[in-house]
Subunit: 362 residues, 2 copies
């Protein structure tokens, strides 16, 4: 794999990950761009002990542009996109409308609190966009396995590098797919958020993992749960020697699948060569099953989320896994997060996990 | 207020709350109904330490019926709805497709675990529907203040009664409004969930409140936060002598308002007469501001959620408040819970709370 780095017109970094070692991606960004927007602000919610990002500049972000204005397509003569080169395999660049950014400095004298109970701080971190292919009219499910490997290598590269940024505590790689999920650009792409804190969900996972380790003389909770699912088999959707895809026994979403390596690793950087090669075919198989589920021509909307261990804390408690779920609950119906889910955090799942697994297998 | 109880044809309970003491609501339910569906199942997610309700029978629940088939309109000659009477003020009944129900018995020998790490148990509890008015084509915002008082009294009545049910640990009263939020019936109505556990969100609130109380010699966190917001004033939307409506300093949603009584009470049952009377005019004012925000004819979709103290535990840490938020972030745009929110629990808010408060005040 060949890795080339360039700077966009406003100073943002762009990295090409190419499968051919002779790829040349040196074209300059010909646009005139305003400087990146001011940093977001993180505010502490004392009632829940969580940080919220206030990113007012994102309100004007690019929203479903026409195909010939796609900022993620390669540039071509006469039209410059976010990607200066005329072709690429995988390209990663800093989001132009980032929720988190490392282009901020703590103001002299510290950041003013909003109230005595709501301290604030700059939205330090980084948000990157991961373009999976130069081809506009396809989807992740349409990529060849070799490209999935390239994407995985790019995500591992970014996880390693973002983990070295001052203040970053967690790197989150994900894909939102489909307008039903709020996707604002159709071109196949994912995102990376490097957070300056351990996220609420990961804190919950680690707290449960810590209790389990203490109760069992050091056993890893996710490893035990995965072993139980593999032994049971009823909710397993597909598997190979190195990975298993299964519907969790207490799935929150009507169609939700975990893909986990059989070997405990904290994050993508720790996957070995064989594990990286074995992931693509299984994941593509699962995504094809998702797309077949409802038979809609545009495919199934989903969120695909890599759960990685934090950068510094509790790495031995973490267990890398990918969570994929769709917001669709039937051909013509979406699963909405209404009162119980949004306000109380209690999920009501209308589909039995065993039924979901059987449908996905069938 | 006159309270009358009847049984529907399948045995479910219905309670009328009428403003006139001479109201007669004795009409029988003339329908033939199948017995209520089998109980949901609660499954424990060991990875997050949370319970998930698996309610497969809800997949076939009533979905946006035509107006003349509305199950929440009063019955009329020749057509029986869920409400046998030909008129009513407020009516509360057990949900026909409940996520939680008290019509279950623990099976002999206990409930089988799904895996060694995922115990399961019956979805014990209760789900009720609260009809705010017999009028189909209106909304909560269109109710007169006296009706809001009746609704509040009905919710307090239900909170008191459901709190006495075996196994119920928390009573949650809420309204989902708008198809954008997944509402399946247009008739103005709310819901009540009586959960057999303290919900994840409430556990987080209580944990933060407990730490604050321990650090301050017993002070109530919500009371201190509310006092700081009232002293600051920049995020206050409206207020009267007994309640304040404000945008939280670390709001998660673009337009989110808390309505809190100035006196600390654990739940709706503890509100006194003056507080109940003073709530309606302020809440209606806030809802009118929400509806004016985007100028859409059908009004603003929202979730309105009463945060109440648990039934048994930590009641002294709780502080009753209502959280109202819309999923709309602009006239033509919705706020979606995508990767960061749905998978990591990190909210990105595109609107500064001070700006949201100014817009709502203006």
């Amino acid at each position: 794999m060949k890795r080339s780095t360039v700077r966009l017109a406003d100073g943002r970094e762009l990295i090409y990950f190419d499968e051919r070692d002779d790829a040349v991606r040196q074209g300059p960004d010909l646009r005139e761009l305003p400087p990146p927007p001011p940093a977001s602000e993180l505010r502490y919610d004392p009632l829940t002990d969580e940080w919220v990002a206030i990113a007012a500049h994102r309100q004007t972000r690019t929203f479903l542009p026409p195909t010939d204005q796609c900022p993620l397509c390669p540039s071509r003569p006469g039209r410059s996109s976010e990607i200066p080169a005329y072709d690429y395999d995988v390209a990663v660049f800093e989001n132009r409308f980032p929720s988190l950014s490392d282009r901020v400095a703590d103001p002299v004298g510290g950041y003013p609190a909003i109230t005595p109970f709501t301290p604030a701080r700059p939205g330090l971190g980084r948000c990157e966009v991961v373009c999976f292919t130069a081809e506009h009219d396809t989807s992740f499910a349409g990529l060849p396995p070799a490209r999935v490997r390239t994407v995985l290598d790019a995500l591992a590269d970014r996880t390693a590098e973002l983990s070295t940024l001052d203040g970053v505590e967690q790197v989150f790689c994900f894909e939102n797919r489909g307008v039903e999920i709020g996707v604002t650009l159709h071109h196949p792409h994912g995102q990376i958020y490097a957070y300056p804190f351990v996220t609420p969900r990961t804190r919950a996972l680690l707290a449960a993992a810590r209790r389990h380790a203490e109760a069992t003389g050091g056993r890893n909770l996710y490893a035990d749960v995965l072993a139980a699912e593999r032994a049971d088999g009823e909710r397993v959707v597909a598997a190979n020697d190195l990975w298993t895809a299964y519907v969790p026994a207490a799935a929150r979403w009507p169609y939700e699948v975990h893909l986990a390596p059989h070997r405990q690793v904290p994050d993508l950087t720790a996957l070995d060569d064989a594990e990286r090669d074995a992931f693509g075919p299984l994941y593509l198989d699962v995504l094809a099953r998702f797309d077949r589920l409802f038979g809609t021509p545009q495919g199934t909307p989903y969120i695909s989320a890599w759960h990685q261990a934090p950068v510094h804390a509790d790495r031995e408690l973490g267990y890398l896994h990918l969570q994929v779920f769709t917001v669709r609950r039937a051909v013509d119906k979406l699963k909405y997060l209404a009162g119980s889910e949004s306000a109380m955090g209690v999920f009501i799942n209308d589909v039995r996990p065993e039924q979901a697994a059987a449908q996905l297998r069938g």
